[in-house]
């Protein structure tokens, strides 16, 4: 009897993963699994329905959670910038600037990827845009196929970790740390990743110049002062917006939610100034904001039901005991928690991991490393998941790129091309783990 009771929690976790693969929307699958296991628990006499009476209080707590309010603002800001053509302009201009040197186009992709990450943070959109605009140019002028797709997929996922990102907002909420701290903490690691990508391209340009040729001069139509002016025109608006949003958070002028509201307004003004604002586009962006917000929030509601039942079945205690008693203490826990998140990242989306798995790990991380290290732990999770999303065979970024890549790019090119970038990210990840000051020096 008690043996069944002990294993019901872990069985629920495994059952959820299995049932999610049915492909029904995650939010409701999680809720359904909660009902199913609550009924099994009640019939076996090991679950008290009273645990579920916390449900309305939890839902209400989610509704008036000031941190989560930032989500629609950042989604709005990202969609608005995306639809105002900022990515296209940046890519074309940066291509003109960097195209004259070997490896320049690839560097332009990394720089634009980092800039877009700091403004829109929408991974799918970034990868798709760069795949549509930069990839054909790179291929036409003799760039190595593997390198081209690798650099695009990798740079596109920078939005996960470079602030402000919805991923970090959700992660901060689940870890119980301040969003601002997590934003500040992930800035240097995010830039380190972008820097590592650029370094990689530079090294290739020196060692194997044939893989990354410079653009032919006749293609670089815009020269001198006019180019400088164009760079200013496309760079200044997003930079101002980044400074507005991140600056006001970093200097404590506004909370992340307030900064998100102002950033969304800023994006609206930019689109208007570019002549890209119409009732139709505004309506589409509001529509998309509503759908994405609803999707994220309902995964949270489903996870809430899931974790209430999971706790009622004492699954959290089971996991806690297993993790605290791991051999190797801190290192053992880091290895197990990071491997778990990395592998889960192949199969399920970020939000499921954040809402179900992170709450299981967070208390133990706090116990082992202390509350002050939770921001660092959060940044590692973010960096880890970014790597996970790039990893074959199920990395999300790879799917998005595959969808828009020209036919001469095979799946094999994408898989081979992404490997060096995964290794680079792992190096940066290990570096952050080994040197927590990289995260904490700006705090």
């Amino acid at each position: 009897m008690s043996a069944i009771a002990d294993w019901l929690g872990p069985a629920m976790f495994a059952g959820a993963l299995l049932l999610l693969s049915l492909g029904y929307p995650v939010a409701f699958s999680l809720g359904g699994v909660a009902v199913l296991f609550a009924l099994i628990g009640i019939s076996l006499g090991v679950f008290e329905p009273v645990f579920l009476t916390a449900m309305p209080t939890r839902i209400f707590g989610i509704m008036n959670n000031f941190t989560l309010l930032a989500i629609p603002y950042f989604i709005f800001m990202g969609s608005m910038l995306e639809s105002s053509g900022i990515a296209e302009n940046l890519l074309e201009t940066m291509g003109q600037v960097f195209g004259r040197i070997r490896g320049g186009l690839a560097i332009a992709v990394v720089v634009v990827g980092a800039l877009l990450a700091a403004t829109t943070g929408v991974v799918a959109a970034t990868v798709v845009t760069m795949g549509l605009i930069s990839l054909p140019t790179m291929l036409r002028y003799g760039y190595n196929k593997e390198l081209s797709v690798g650099v695009i997929a990798a740079s596109g996922t920078l939005g996960q970790i470079i602030p402000p990102s919805i991923v970090l907002v959700v992660l901060a909420d689940q870890l119980g740390v301040s969003v601002g701290d997590l934003f500040i903490g992930s800035l240097i690691p995010g830039l380190l990743m972008a820097g590592a990508f650029i370094l990689h391209v530079v090294v290739i340009a020196i060692v194997r110049p044939d893989l990354v040729p410079a653009l032919p001069p006749e293609l670089l139509a815009v020269q001198g002062k006019r180019l400088l002016l164009k760079v200013g025109q496309v760079m200044v608006p997003p930079l101002v917006l980044i400074l507005l949003v991140l600056g006001s958070i970093f200097f404590g002028v506004a909370t992340p939610t307030e900064a998100g509201a102002l950033g969304a307004l800023g994006a609206l003004v930019l689109a208007w100034a570019n002549g890209q604002l119409s009732v139709k586009s505004l309506r589409e962006i509001c529509d998309r904001t509503l759908r994405t917000t609803s999707m994220v929030m309902f995964i949270l509601l489903g996870s809430t039901a899931f974790s209430l039942v999971f706790r009622g079945l004492r699954g959290d205690r089971f996991i806690n005991e297993a993790l605290v008693n791991l051999p190797g203490g801190q290192v053992g826990f880091l290895i197990v928690s990071m491997t778990t998140i990395f592998i889960l990242g192949f199969f399920i989306d970020f939000f499921e991991i954040a809402f179900i798995v992170v709450p299981l790990f967070a208390p133990i991380a706090e116990q082992l490393f202390g509350f002050d290290r939770l921001v660092w732990y959060g940044v590692i999770i973010g960096a880890n998941m970014q790597t996970s999303f790039l990893s074959p065979p199920f990395g999300f970024a790879l799917f998005y790129l595959r969808g828009v890549a020209p036919p001469e790019i095979t799946t094999g090119h994408i898989y081979r091309g992404i490997v060096p970038f995964i290794l680079l990210q792992l190096v940066v990840l290990v570096l952050i783990i080994a040197v927590p000051q990289l995260v904490e020096m700006l705090l």
């Binding site: 049915l22 009902v35 709005f76 609206l268 999707m295 199969f347």
Partner: protein, 199 residues
Amino acid sequence: MRIVNKLLQLSRWIDAVSEWVGRVAYWLVLAMLGIGCWNVVGRYIGQLLGRSFSSNSLIEAQWYLFSFIFLLGAAYTLKHNDHVRVDMFYARWSNKRKALANLVGTVWFLLPFCVLVIMFSWKVILASWQSWEMSPDPGGLPRYPIKSMIIVSFVSLIAQGVSEGIKAIALLTDHLPPPAEPHRAEIGSANESDLGGQP
């Protein structure tokens, strides 16, 4: 079969209501944006001028709107198939198999979950109405309407679930042509079998 056609009629009704609610709700995003900005700017201008332009009711209005958006948008999002799926296998299935998965998911996951939430929430919400519950902060908003939105949201999800279930049955019994419109949730999935098939 006449019964399926009757059911499809019901499904169209539900779809129309969800669509209408969603279209009204997405404009609330702009209202939320406006109030959010007003609250920040008002706070700073207020500090400069020594008077308050924001208030508890405006601060609460911000998260009231947020709740309206995601609670009212849920059924609309379900209708448009924008609730994210783990589509490793799903994306490769035929339309009929997808319809079967949706039918099973609706009956076993969505409907029980909604019933569960309503079952455990209605008493708390009724109590809120009975006491005309107000915000604990001075000048705050009444709580009973926003708490009721939980019920509204999950009832609308049940209705939309019924509609999706009917459409799945109609597709399985050849009363409906397979869906033509691809959606964002499946970007790139056209090539997915290619991706998974190679080493």
